[in-house]
Amino acid sequence: MAKEADLKLATRTALGTRACRRLRRNGQVPGNVYGHDAEPVAVSTNSAEFRSLVLSGVRVFNIDVEGRTDKALLKELNWDAFGDEVDHFDMMRVDPNERVTVHVPIELKGIAPGAMGGAGMLEQPIHELTIDCLAYQIPTSIPVRINTLEIGQAIHVKELELPEGIHVHAQPDAVVVHVVQVRNTPEPEAGALAGAQPEVIGKKTEEAAK
């Protein structure tokens, strides 16, 4: 099940870009909490603490907004340009027994024999799955065992072993992970097309001009 953590949030009255920038400069991260027929609340919390919780895989928080406690699901995260700091977050209040839609990462377990020795290469087209499940049932990750995967073999969405009550929003035939043959494409000859220039769109050629 997904990790849970307690988080103290403070309501913020100063809204807008400049107020949020001021908050970030002071080590806070702005956010919004909404859902469950209650008014949306603009909040803020300690940036470093929140970031470490997010990186450790926490998705469900027991939030405390000025004395009112709720269970909330992290719905959206905005990172800065370098992916270092959280710029903003959205949380949705949830009932533990209500169904929610979340993105869960896929975790590969083991080593694919087909990908060893250099003949095959492991490719993972899907890194996360969108699932719906009860809020208290959200898995931290979806484990996929690749111990038996040989060259040319694949694991599809329909073959995943999911806990009871979890429904996946993906095509059953979608490939999650597969081992493909390494292609040895010949290197183009150096200088074969040296000095070549791309075609200019709309430029009249000499023949067309005649």
Binding site: A81, L122, E123
Partner: protein, 139 residues
């Protein structure tokens, strides 16, 4: 062979200015590890090709390399020992414009240690400061 577009609208372009940070292509999307630039700059097509060769030789079929940049901006140059004037020079090479935060390359299916060593070799060839970044957690 250096990378370049197949078709272009104009043979020559003005240089412009590279301002601000990358707002797109700034998170690891395809692989497990990414090489992120910390500076703005121009990366030539032949530099990207040199990086590709260095990375693929090091991982030797163990992982998959993704190249997230493409040189789509033409740079002109004047021939040596010619006088100034008589218009803009002829297209000489192609560059990819990168802003701080842009992910240049990604590696999938390799360990952190291997990605670190591989990207260290790639970093030697690049004209910008770079760092190794992991995939951000999904929400």
């Amino acid at each position: 062979m250096a990378l370049m577009p197949k078709r272009v609208k104009h043979r020559k372009e003005q240089r412009g200015r590279v301002k601000g940070n990358a707002t797109r292509g700034n998170s690891v999307a395809f692989g497990d590890w990414g090489l992120q630039t910390l500076e703005a700059g121009y990366i030539r097509g032949n530099t990207i090709e040199a990086c590709r060769v260095a990375a693929t030789q090091y991982v030797r079929g163990e992982g998959k390399l993704y190249i997230r940049i493409f040189p789509n901006k033409p740079m002109t140059a004047r021939p040596l020992e010619t006088r100034m004037g008589t218009g803009k020079g002829e297209p000489d090479h192609w560059v990819a414009v990168v802003k701080p935060g842009k992910i240049l390359f990604e590696l999938a299916g390799v360990s952190e240690a291997l990605a670190k060593e591989c990207f260290a070799r790639v970093a030697y060839k690049l004209p910008v400061r770079v760092r190794l970044v992991p995939r951000l957690p999904s929400v």
